[in-house]
Symmetry: C2
């Protein structure tokens, strides 16, 4: 039994206070048998009389029961009656670092866009696909195997060699990424990849190009690190490279294989132009191969990294989408000139990812389970995407503009004739009807005044998907402008 | 099959190049059956003649076998003969950020002090205790259970509620830490805790007090974040609080329960003085309760955090020592005023630790397995410590000065009459004899000119420990100064 004698007042008082505090804080829960007074006296170096007196006091206050000689037991005192050190009041302080100042500006603890809305029966949440039970079973099997043969010491900061090799082989084959195991850094997801990119490449104030719209998560991480954001628009061919800033951007962040959230695939000429820009300006490119793994067409374009001749592309991938987020694994293919810097930054961040998930994943990839899973989920997502497209067309016709997407787990849509605030109103109405909706606005720094939505279909069964889409269509049709537009036959098409 | 047509030259040449590159990079490994020329032509939008001609060319070069109509197979070409895109040469660049500039100064990739030395048969490595097989089995069982019932979506950034509750209850009971589950942040080890402390509390140039000597890992993380280090010496009562800088230190980092590496326990008056200093200067205290869990005496002092009335202590703990490093789990008890800042910084760092290890650990603690393990390992380490002390005394007598340690998995010793460089020479001699030795010098910013060692005993069996200690003693006795001292009967005691 640890008792903290605080040195204030007589030993008797100190002991009473220490025992009460221990009871109140749960270190001596109800029913605990206290040590015999003789034993406690010896272990604390007090006289036995002091201990007996303290026990008597507690007995008088009804905090312990029993008698000297027969054992004393804690009798579940109301903590309210105890002289507990009060829990510290929640005080506020100014941000203590520039990082925290920026974090307070951009991080919204309560609100993660795309997350399932509490209360929604059907939810178009995006960024997550329901895992089939067979994958969960296979994963548990791999984990069990890894857990029974786990190296218990510190893992290498760069990642387990088996996983780095498996990743290098896989992305070489499927995405044309030119790398060896030694170029791969295992990280805890895209968020961490962006944090490391920021640490290695950016000082506060450095100019960073981001797509507009873009993934808010990556944008927030960059902002917290002090990036001076330059937003460059995206069209159906990806980033508008001719609109890159004339002055040098230190870093250009792109999602060429499937732009988030629009779904655009960056064209080959644009890719080449971006590589040229980086070489000319000595900029770095961060290629987030956002769900590039869900390939659904033959002859798809390979990664930007495979075009890079000067080693200026940092290639980032994640298993959060292709497996599930709880795996907390992703990777960075490091330009060789930055390899040591990345590994040092990773070391300073967490000394390395847990080895167990890494070993499980390495085995899953090497045994072919990952490829099989990718084929299955790609087919399933493809069917759902088509079902959503068809249902939207049938229910809303040209009231809805669906952006073309060949991969991924969501569709981006604009509602013709509805503005931003009407879009927000639909979210509220949807929630009242048990339908979770998510506008595209959080993906923009400067959202256009149109009602745009990301309709995630990864977690909905075909039946739920049709049901949710019909409910969505009903809401749209009954919204004021929708009705007005129908009645008046007017189509107000805004361009973003 | 993904083929990347690079747009240079005729389609025929592009296709030949694309196929060769795919073979060379392993995307088309030996034995792969190529698609029928007709199918490939359709999927790439080329004429069949182009594909046939390209296949013919590869056949001529001996890269594929088989005939048109009968199927073509990749025949394992030597990659040396292929026009592979050369792997990028390792170029160097200047550090791209202030963080990387500092990292290049302080991070030594090849050298992690305390780590087992390659080639050593017996090694006094420290910071790691061999796990008994029963713990490894229990852990695998907990992991298996967690893996079969894993929430697959994003975990909360702050950590799984079950683990935060288990930690709060445990450290409240054993260390007197005043906190609720909501005050606990789950992190990926002490390294990450220090990185988050740095992000939340420090701007580059801020003054940070560190103990001298101290844990080099924490010091390096702080240095990478730009901390302006002020080293304050440590004696047998812990940090010499009266030598704290007169100007304000933004942060004071201490290991009061068992100073690393000296083993000193900070006295109660010093603790109170440090708390007073922090209140007076509005400084923050980072209390790294380095192996505070291995309590070996009744009535041990509880944490500094339990004395803190003004919420200025950040309490940091880890399971790397008490369980094993591969768990990659630790925690921060956040001052309430900084709670949101810490959670935002954790979110920006990796969005949250993997849930599986968290759930396994929560169950292990709640079921009492962790407490049982702590008792076992504490007893075992205690026996080994005594054995090492006794063997050192028997073998080296007063040639060795052993710093008093009541807990932990290493002893710190000074060799009387040997200087720093003689200590380094012993390391080299030891390695030649298969013995891994580790000097205390890396723990100092400014090491004293004495031969000091950290003798880790966590991974050695009693027999190995005695054997290793005797070899160590033999080396010491045969070292020039050692011999000289013996002969001359001179004791050259330096004071650090």
């Amino acid at each position: 039994m640890d008792l903290f004698l605080d040195g204030n007042g007589s030993l008797y008082r100190q002991l009473v206070r220490a025992l009460k505090t221990s009871m109140a804080t749960g270190r001596l829960p109800k029913g605990t048998r206290l040590p015999a007074s003789r034993d406690l006296a010896v272990s604390l170096g007090l006289s036995r009389a002091t201990v007996v007196a303290a026990y008597e006091q507690l007995r008088t206050e009804g905090l312990i029961t029993g008698r000297v000689g027969a054992g004393s037991f804690v009798s579940a005192p109301s903590t309210a009656t105890l002289p507990v050190r009060p829990t510290l009041p929640r005080t506020t302080v100014d941000p203590q670092s520039a990082f925290s100042r920026r974090a307070r500006q951009v991080h919204d603890h309560g609100n993660i866009p795309g997350k399932r809305r509490p209360g929604a029966v059907l939810d178009f949440q995006y960024g997550f696909a329901t895992v089939n039970p067979s994958l969960a079973r296979q994963w548990a099997r791999e984990i069990t195997r890894a857990a029974h043969d786990l190296p218990l010491n510190y893992p290498p900061s760069q990642g387990m060699p088996a996983l780095r090799q498996a990743i290098a082989t896989h992305i070489g084959r499927t995405r044309g990424v030119v790398c060896e195991a030694d170029d791969v850094l295992v990280v805890g997801g895209v968020q961490q990849a962006m944090a490391l990119v920021s640490r290695v490449l950016l000082d506060p104030g450095d100019a960073v190009v981001m797509e507009e719209p873009a993934y808010f998560g990556a944008r927030r991480v960059l902002q917290m690190h002090g990036a001076n954001l330059r937003c460059v628009p995206v069209d159906q061919d990806g980033l508008c490279v001719n609109r890159l800033p004339a002055e040098t951007a230190k870093l250009v962040c792109v999602t060429p294989s499937h732009q988030f959230p629009t779904g655009a695939v960056m064209s080959l000429p644009r890719r080449q132009a971006l590589i040229d820009y980086a070489e000319r300006h000595q900029s770095w490119i961060c290629e987030d191969d956002y769900d590039g793994e869900f390939r659904q067409e033959e002859g798809a374009l390979l990664s930007l990294q495979s075009l890079d001749r000067s080693g200026r592309v940092v290639y980032v991938g994640s298993f959060s989408k292709t497996l599930f987020p709880a795996a907390r694994l992703g990777y960075v293919v490091m330009p060789r000139a930055l390899r040591d810097d990345f590994i040092a930054a990773k070391w300073a961040t967490d000394a390395g990812c847990p080895p167990m998930e890494q070993l499980a994943l390495a085995s899953f990839i090497a045994q072919g389970g990952y490829d099989r899973h990718l084929r299955q989920i790609t087919r399933r997502l493809s069917e759902r995407r088509k079902l959503l497209q068809d249902t939207l067309a049938a229910e809303l016709g040209d009231q809805v503009e669906v952006l073309r997407a060949r991969t991924g787990m969501h569709l981006m849509v604009w509602l013709r004739g509805l503005d931003l605030s009407q879009g927000e109103a639909l979210v509220t109405q949807g929630l009242r009807a048990g339908l979770g909706l998510h506008t595209v606005a959080p993906c923009y720094v400067d959202p256009p005044d149109r009602a745009g939505f990301l309709l995630g279909f990864g977690t909905l069964s075909p039946r739920e998907l049709v049901d949710a889409t019909r409910r969505f269509a009903m809401l749209v049709r009954s919204s004021p402008a929708g009705t007005g537009r129908r009645r008046g036959g007017l189509v107000l098409a805004h361009s973003a």
